[in-house]
Structures are given as C-alpha cells and as structure tokens.
C-alpha cells in the first residue's frame, strides 16, 4: 500500500522525474566518455611502450668531429681524406664511423652507472608524389631499445619492402601489399610499423605533426644504408638497476654539461620531457585532467542539482509522511518505499549513461590516433570507472534521499500535518518587510511568496545558480578551439614560410617578404621555448594583445610572449627572462603578451636576436612571405593554409571533447531551469487556485506568482556571471600551472544576453506547461488536491 502511494505521487511528476533521469544519464555519460576516451588509450599505450622497450631518455650528440674524436680516428682508422662531421665520416669509412660512435658510447657509459645505451640512426627522405611533397624518416632497426612494433604485417624482408606508419597509410590509401614510389624506386608495403621513440611524427624543424604528409619508415638494414641521404643519429637509453628518473635527472642531466669528458653530448632529455616520444604522456595526463576535470565538474553539479530536486520532491511529501506516522507506521516502513523508487528510477538512468559513454569513448579514443602514433585498441571496461561513474552518484542520491526523509521523520507528526512553518523571522523577510510595507498587496505578494518560504526559495536560488553557471560555462567554451588554433593564422598576413637551407644562402627578401629568425629550442629556465625574431615594424606578422591593440613595436624594448606561456609559467609584463641563445645567456624584460593561446613562444626583435645569436643584425634563417616562394632556394616551404588544415585534424579531438561538454552542459542547464520552473509553479498551484476563486485574473496571478520568480531568476543569472568568470579564470590558471594546458575560457556580453534570454524562454515554457496542467482540473478539485 505504501509502495503504491509513493508510486502514485511520483507518477504525478513523471515529466520532471524523466528529465532528472536525463540529467543523471548525461552526467554519467560525460564522465564515462572522457574517462574511457582517454583511459582507453592509456592502458594499451603503456603496454606497447613496455613490450617495445621505449627509451627512458635520449642523448643528442654533436655531428662535428671534436679534438678527442680526431685523436681516436688518427689512431684507429686510416682515412684518406679529411672529414669534419660524423655523417661525413660515415660516407667515406663506415667502419671507422661505427668505431667512433662506439667509443663515444663507451665514454658515456664509463661516466654514468646504471644506464644502458644504444645508437639510433635515421635518414630523412623527401619525395614528391602527385604534386605533393612527402617526408619519411627512416629509422634503422635496433636490437635492444625502441624495438619496431608491427600493428599489421611484418618487417621488410627484402630491399624492396618498406614498413610505414598506419596513420600515413590510412590517410593516403596505402594498404599493406600496395606499392609506394619513393624517388623512383618502388617499395612494397610489408606492414604498418610503430616506433616507441616516435609517438608523434615530429621531426621537422618546426612543430608540424602531420600524418598525411609525414611518415616514419622501416627498411632492411641493407636498404637503409643504400639511401643517399645524410645519416642522423641519437642515442637511446634505458635506466637499469631501478634507477629513478629523478636520480637520473640529478646525477646525469644536471651533470653532463659540466663534464669535461663529454664535450660531444649536446643534450640529454628524459622521455617524459621529450616531445616526439613523451608528449603522449603529457597529452594523456592533460587530456585526463581536462576531460575528467571538466566532466567531473559538470557531472557533480548535475548530481548536486538532482539531489536538490529529489529533496524538493520529498519535502512535498511531508503531509503524507505525517499522516502515515500518525497512524503508527514505523520510520523504516515509511522510508523504504521512497528509497526503493528513487533507486529504481535512478539506477537505470546512471547505467544507461555509463553505456552510452563507453560507446562514445571509442570514436574519441580513435581521434588520438589521427595525431599520435599508437596501436589501436578497443575501449575496455574498468571497475574503477564503473565505480566513479555509476556507484558513487547512485549512492550519493540514495544517501541524500535517506537523510532528507530521516530529517522529515524526526519531526513530530503534528508538525508534519500542519503546513510547513513559514519563516517570517528570517533576515531577508525582515529586511524586505519594511520596504514591502508600502507596496500594494499584489506587488508585495510577489516577494512574500519567496521570502516567507526560505527553503523553497533557496532551492530555487541554488538550482538557478548552477543552471546559469553551466550555461555560461558552455558558452565560454565555444571559442576555445578557434583560439587555440586558427586565430593565430587569421591574425597574420604571411601565407608562406620558407626555411633556409643551412648550406645554401637564402634568397634576400623582396617586396612583402620579411626576414625572420626561428630558434625552435631556446632554453628558458628549465624549459625549451620557441624563440622568434621578428621585425619590430613587421607588416605581415603583427602581434596583437588580448585587447586587440597592436604591440609589434614593443619588440624594440624587449620580449613579447604568448598568452599561453604567460599562463603556464606565470610570467607577467615587466618580468625579466633569462634566455640561453646559442652560447649567450641574456636577460630581457617582457614588454607585452600576445593573444596566442598555443605554443611556448617568445618573440624578440630580429635584429637584436641576430646580434646575440651570430653577431649579425642582418641574420635570418626563415622568410615569411605573402607571395609564393621559390622551392629551390629553401630547405622547406610551408604554406600557412596547410598548417591550418593540419591543425584542424589535430583539433578534431579538442573539438569533439569540447562539443560534448558544451552540449551536455547546455542541456543540463536548460533542464534544470525547466524543472525548477515547473516545480515552482506546482508549489503554487494551491495559491493560484485560491487567487482565481477570490477573483484575481490570470494577468494579476502571473504577476504575483511568476513575476517574483522571473525577476529573481534573472537576477541570479546576472549575479552568476562574475562568479562564473572568476571560476573560469581560476580553472584556466589551474590547468595552465598544473597541466600546462591552456583553456582560453571566454566571456562575452552576448553570452549573458543569450543565456538570460534562454532562461526567460524556458521559464515561460515551463510556466505555460504547468499552468496548462492546472487549467485542466476544476478549481475546487485543484484546491482540494493541492491543499497545503
């Protein structure tokens, strides 16, 4: 009987309950998608790195033959001609080259314990096909560290076979078994290969990550040696005997620059800090932080709102509970049906969200593979995620419901049977009382209905606040991906970037072309930054700050840094930054911050940079141009159009993530406004009916009942704006500092306008629906039904 009573009660509010169900579903959906989308990559990726023995660190060496090397060569090789570089040496005496390398490796191993190192050679091959230029970095197979990993097919067995990246193959319609013509030689694709030291196809001078025009490749050792291109090399290393990265950092990385026995070592980088191999770690960590962080925020707000709503439903049951109590039902008998139905209704909604989420996670995790070179994998369910996505919110709802019922049950039956106490003495009512005295009763009513029932008013205020927050939150994310990517190129006028060949002199810039210096890895503190030397009167690469003021000429006085660098490192205008440019250490002041939300970039005056770098104010190594550049004069030319295309692929992932967040939070926000409105009007059904009986017309009643809520709703929306803004700034700072991720949350006046308009529309829709419901029953029945 009690079960039936509860069921009937809930049935009356089935639309609201359904919508609450939608919120619950969405909240577990968003969390599950983000968690599995990222986590679905994490686990198989770690396994892949494990089996293919990813390097723990990488050592870069000078190609130049140094004094000690010369001595070694003199006593070990019989060279006929003079060489200055190791790559040159390899061309004339391969055995001597390997001996010399071996010697260098020995020197390193003698200096440091607990490491195991191996040479990693590569050759970069450029080739054209159908008017498009491609680049393949061939890696020579190793035997211990960074083993080749085949996602499909096998290693090349003959000299006319090749293994390429799956992403490159897929985006160029090249399957295993197809042939690929590289500079006149046909290779049969024997398989798709991955190399753990390249989880990003990142090997250009600039930071282009593009799996359509770039691939990693594997040939037989013999064929590798047959390639005419210059050899490139690095040393891959493993930590042994349980050495930790921290110990290695302290004993090796902080030491090698001062070690006189290692003049040929230019850099040692731990994998976690190495873009090409370790960026995926940061990405996954960042993706986790972002996806999980944001989705947790949204999901928690959603569950909180559901809790509030459920409590509202339960509080409206006071009378019923009072009657049962007065008849002698035990607290347990009364509680169980409520908890039972709340469980029955919420559990499927949560589980549904979980399953939708795990389905949606697969395409999301596949997006990673358009950027990162990783093995594909199916999303696997994990118990932890299930707990957080399903069990926690479920228990939360049950516990909240339980405590509300318990609180109600703790009151005496008489208190429950009488209408809920009106708090005429609360602060707001008192304060407003004086002011309201002068108003007509109809105007007064508007406010009294709110203040004199603090509990309901608070529910309304809190609910609306969260709703407004979510809606503003989603608007603020609208522009994020544009800001992170295309905005930069839309603001600049150069269409082509030409990278000068070190050996050939660059064209002297003409017309709309400008000299630029780009130094991709300048050390700033313990971080590598991308230093760009720009003309301070540049016409085709103007720097603009967040307020749209042009700041290019500030380069005359010092540095201009990107907004992302400023957020991540906390640099402000006026700070002095210590840059290591070549051999020089220079301290320069930050003069301004550009509105660029991606890249750790520092701009300085080209002339000054040239002067510091090579003692020449005329120096440049890159040309920015509005018009097309002559390919013969440059090592590489990139069109910005192409960069934008590429970054669009990269940003597909971001866009998807943010789109999910935006849509989910707008829907949740809208639903909350709707339910709160309907519930609020329903609370007032009795008052509305009574006013009608007394003779008030609809317009007057709307003014009294709806007017107050509408006004306060709008006020809440407006008050939420600064709070939301502060929260966005806070989130941006947190993400930037802890995860080095920049989210340019953005607030614009129209966001406030649109969200307030949205509120008003939903409010009136809810009110209309509720009132139509009331109009369907006769007045006297309504009065009996909703008697308080």
């Amino acid at each position: 009987m009690l079960f039936r009573n509860v069921l009937r009660t809930l049935k009356k509010q089935y639309i609201q309950l359904l919508l609450l169900g939608v919120i619950i579903t969405l909240s577990s959906f968003i969390y599950t998608t983000m968690d599995y989308g990222v986590g679905g990559i994490l686990v198989p990726t770690e396994e892949y790195f494990e089996v293919s023995n990813q390097e723990d660190f990488a050592i870069s060496m000078l190609d130049m033959i140094l004094e000690d090397d010369g001595i070694f060569i003199a006593s070990n090789c019989a060279l006929t001609s003079e060489v200055h570089t190791l790559s040159g040496l390899k061309n004339i005496d391969s055995a001597c080259y390997y001996d010399l390398i071996e010697n260098r490796l020995n020197i390193i191993e003698n200096e440091y314990d607990d490491i195991n190192i191996e040479l990693r050679e590569n050759k970069d091959v450029y080739f054209n096909f159908d008017e498009t230029s491609y680049k393949v970095r061939f890696l020579k197979a190793t035997s211990e560290i960074n083993l080749s990993y085949f996602v499909e097919g096998n290693a090349p067995a003959t000299d006319s076979e090749i293994a390429i990246s799956e992403a490159f193959g897929k985006s160029n319609d090249l399957d295993v078994g197809d042939t690929l013509d590289i500079n006149g030689k046909d290779y049969t694709i024997s398989g798709y290969v991955l190399f753990p030291d390249y989880s990003l196809a990142l090997f250009s001078a600039n930071l282009i990550i593009d799996n359509k025009s770039q691939s990693l490749g594997l040939l037989t050792d013999q064929e590798f040696e047959n390639l005419n291109e210059n050899i490139g090399f690095e040393i891959a290393g493993d930590l042994t005997n349980g050495t930790t990265e921290d110990e290695f950092e302290e004993n090796v990385i902080n030491d090698f620059r001062d070690n006189d026995n290692l003049p040929f070592v230019t850099n040692i980088v731990l994998t976690v800090n190495n873009m090409r191999s370790g960026a995926i770690y940061a990405e996954l960590e960042g993706g986790e932080a972002m996806g999980l962080g944001l989705s947790l925020i949204i999901a928690s707000i959603a569950i909180l709102i559901v809790g509030i709503m459920v409590s509202k439903v339960l509080v409206s049951q006071r009378g019923a509970i009072g009657i049962l109590k007065s008849m002698g039902y035990s607290n347990r008998q009364i509680t169980i049906p409520y908890i039972f139905f709340i469980a029955i209704l919420s559990f499927p909604a949560i589980v549904l969200g979980y399953f939708f989420g795990s389905f949606a996670a697969q395409p999301m995790s596949d997006l990673y593979k358009m950027i990162y070179l990783l093995p594909s994998s199916a999303v696997e369910h994990s118990f932890d995620t299930f707990i957080v996505a399903v069990i926690v919110p479920f228990l939360f709802l049950l516990v909240v419901s339980y405590f509300i019922i318990k609180r109600i049950l703790n009151q005496k039956p008489v208190e429950l049977l009488n209408p809920q106490m009106v708090s005429s003495t609360n602060f707001l009512a008192k304060k407003m009382g004086k002011f309201l005295k002068k108003l007509k009763i109809t105007s007064k009513m508007k406010h009294l209905l709110l203040y004199r029932n603090m509990v309901k008013f608070l529910v309304f205020v809190i609910g609306m606040f969260f709703a407004a927050f979510l809606i503003l939150f989603s608007f603020s994310m609208l522009d994020i991906f544009d800001k992170l990517t295309v905005d930069y190129y839309n603001n600049t006028n150069h269409n082509y970037i030409g990278y000068c060949d070190i050996e050939l002199p660059c064209d002297n810039p003409t017309g709309t072309q400008e000299k630029v210096i780009e130094l991709p890895s300048v050390i700033l503190g313990d971080e590598e930054v991308y230093l760009v030397g720009l003309e301070s009167d540049s016409l085709i690469h103007k720097l603009v700050d967040t307020k749209d003021n042009e700041i290019t000429n500030k380069l005359d006085d010092g540095l201009v840094i990107t907004k992302s660098l400023s957020l991540i490192k906390g640099f402000k205008v006026g700070d002095s930054l210590l840059l290591e440019i070549g051999d020089e250490h220079v301290l320069i002041d930050v003069m301004a911050i550009t509105e660029e939300y991606s890249g750790n970039k520092v701009y300085m005056s080209r002339e000054e940079l040239g002067d510091i770098f090579v003692d020449s104010t005329e120096y440049y190594n890159v040309i920015y141009s509005e018009t097309e550049l002559n390919e013969d004069n440059f090592m590489m030319i990139i069109s910005t159009e192409k960069i934008m295309e590429q970054s669009e692929v990269m940003q597909g992932l971001f866009e998807t993530v943010f789109l999910i967040m935006i849509v989910v939070s707008v829907i949740i926000g809208a639903i909350v406004v709707y339910i709160l409105t309907v519930m609020t009007i329903e609370d007032n059904f009795y008052n509305i009916s009574l006013f009608k009986v007394i003779g008030y017309n609809n317009k007057e009643i709307d003014k009294m009942i709806l007017g107050g809520y509408l006004v306060y709703g709008i006020i809440i929306f407006l008050i939420t704006i600064p709070i939301a803004l502060a929260a966005f700034y806070g989130l941006t700072a947190i993400f930037a500092q802890y995860y080095e991720l920049v989210f340019p949350f953005d607030f614009e006046i129209w966001h406030a306008g649109v969200s307030t308009t949205m509120f008003i529309i939903i409010f009136y829709t809810g009110a209309f629906v509720a009132k139509r419901h009331l109009n369907r029953i006769s007045l006297q029945e309504a009065m009996k039904m909703y008697q308080v």
């Binding site: 009763i441 009294l448 209905l449 004199r452 009986v693 007394i694 003779g695 609809n698 007057e700």
Partner: protein
C-alpha cells in the same frame, strides 16, 4: 442578484463507478435571499455550491445569475464575474500560508469594487489581537474566522459559505452568522450557506434539503430569527 438552476446534474466518473453528486436540480435563489442548504454528508451540498459559483462546471443543465449564464462562461469571464460579485467561505479554511492574517484579508479586499476596511472586518470577527499572526499560528476557529473576514471584506453581491461555523463554538458561531445576516439585511447580499446544523435554518428565508444529489424538500421560513436568537444544538 438572483440565481437560477435548470435541470443541473453533476456526475463524477471514477473508473467504472459513476457518482451523481448533483441530480436534475431546478432551483431559483432570489436577489437578497438567505438560503440554507441542509443534507447528510456526501449528499452533494459542496458540489452544488461549487457549480453555482462557477468553481466547477456541471455535467449538464444551465445556471444563470441575473441574466448571465454562468455555465456558458469561459474561465476569463468567470474570473471577472467572481471578482466583482462573489465571496467564498470554504469548508477547508483555504488560507494563504505565506501571508499574515491582515494580509490574507487584504488579498480579498484588493480585488473588490466597494470593499470594507480590513480592520473593520477583523474587528467584527474579533481577530484584532491576531492581526500579525500567520495561519499556522492560529487555532482552527481563528483560521475559519480569517477565511470569513476575507470573504466579507469584499462586500460581495452573493456570499457562498460552506460550513462557515463548523469549527466555532456557539458564541463565536452566532457572531459570524450575525455578520452574514447583517450583510444580507443591510447590503442585500444573497447568502447561500451550507450547514449540518438544522437550527441555523431558522435564520434563513428558505431551507433547501438535499439527499443523494437531489432536492428533496424546500421549506419557506416565514418566521426569521435573529442569529443571536437561534437555539443551538
């Protein structure tokens, strides 16, 4: 104002069961008349009152007040009509919980054409000391008196009262009935009053007895008593 019911029926359908709450009632209430409706519980008194006053619609039949046909009015017209002409006192007290005693009465006063003052009316029902209390702070009888004051303050043309004295003791009940009688005599307000107490019939112009939704007897009362002269229970 005079009220006319022609062949009015109200049937409730609850699942399979039909309840004829009011059955084929023909009735005329003259301008300024004081009517008492008597009948056992469930006989359809409240239902009839609700239909007459336009709070509910009849299943069939016609209701007119003066020349206006209530049963044909839309809800907007009904509202206007109620606002200008009718006062209600309910079986349940039906007070607004968020408003104080004086504010509840004020709500009634606000929409009337020729209202009395709030104090005047509260004085009559002896509620001046409770003027700033909220409904939950009042006794049942006090709540009923607030509900009466709220109807009276409107100075309506017709007053509908469903058990207005149910929660009152003899003295207070007579007081309230006296107020209604005074309205009726002084302002020619028609009064339709439901009660279980047959003695109250003594102050009416006519007594109408209902049973199972049908008018079973109409008694003309030639010898009207003053409210204070009624012999109680």
């Amino acid at each position: 104002m005079s009220i006319k019911l022609e062949n009015v029926t109200k049937t409730y359908f609850t699942g399979e069961v039909e309840t004829h709450a009011v059955k084929n009632v023909d009735l005329e209430i003259k301008d300024g008349e004081f009517i008492v409706l008597l009948g056992p519980s469930g006989s359809g008194k409240s239902t009839m009152l609700n239909i007459i006053s336009g709070l509910d619609t009849p299943t069939s039949g016609k209701i007119s007040i003066d020349e206006e046909i209530i049963s044909d009015m839309n809800s907007k017209q009904l509202t206007k009509f109620r606002r200008d002409n009718l006062g209600f006192i309910f079986q349940q007290y039906n007070l607004l919980q968020t408003l104080s005693v004086s504010e509840n009465v004020e709500v009634g006063r606000e929409v009337s054409l020729l209202p009395f003052t709030v104090e005047e009316v509260l004085e009559q029902v002896d509620l001046i000391p409770q003027i700033n209390k909220y409904p939950f702070q009042l006794s049942g009888g006090e709540q009923q008196r607030v509900s009466i004051a709220r109807a009276v303050v409107k100075n309506p043309k017709i007053m509908f009262c469903d058990e207005p004295t149910g929660a009152l003791d003899e003295v207070m009940a007579k007081e309230v009935l006296g107020i209604l009688q005074k309205l009726n005599e002084k302002y020619k307000t028609s009064v339709v009053l439901i009660t279980h107490n047959p003695n109250i019939g003594a102050m009416a112009d006519r007594i109408i007895k209902l049973n199972s939704g049908e008018v079973v007897e109409v008694i003309e009362n030639k010898n009207k008593l003053k409210a204070s002269e009624i012999s109680w229970g």
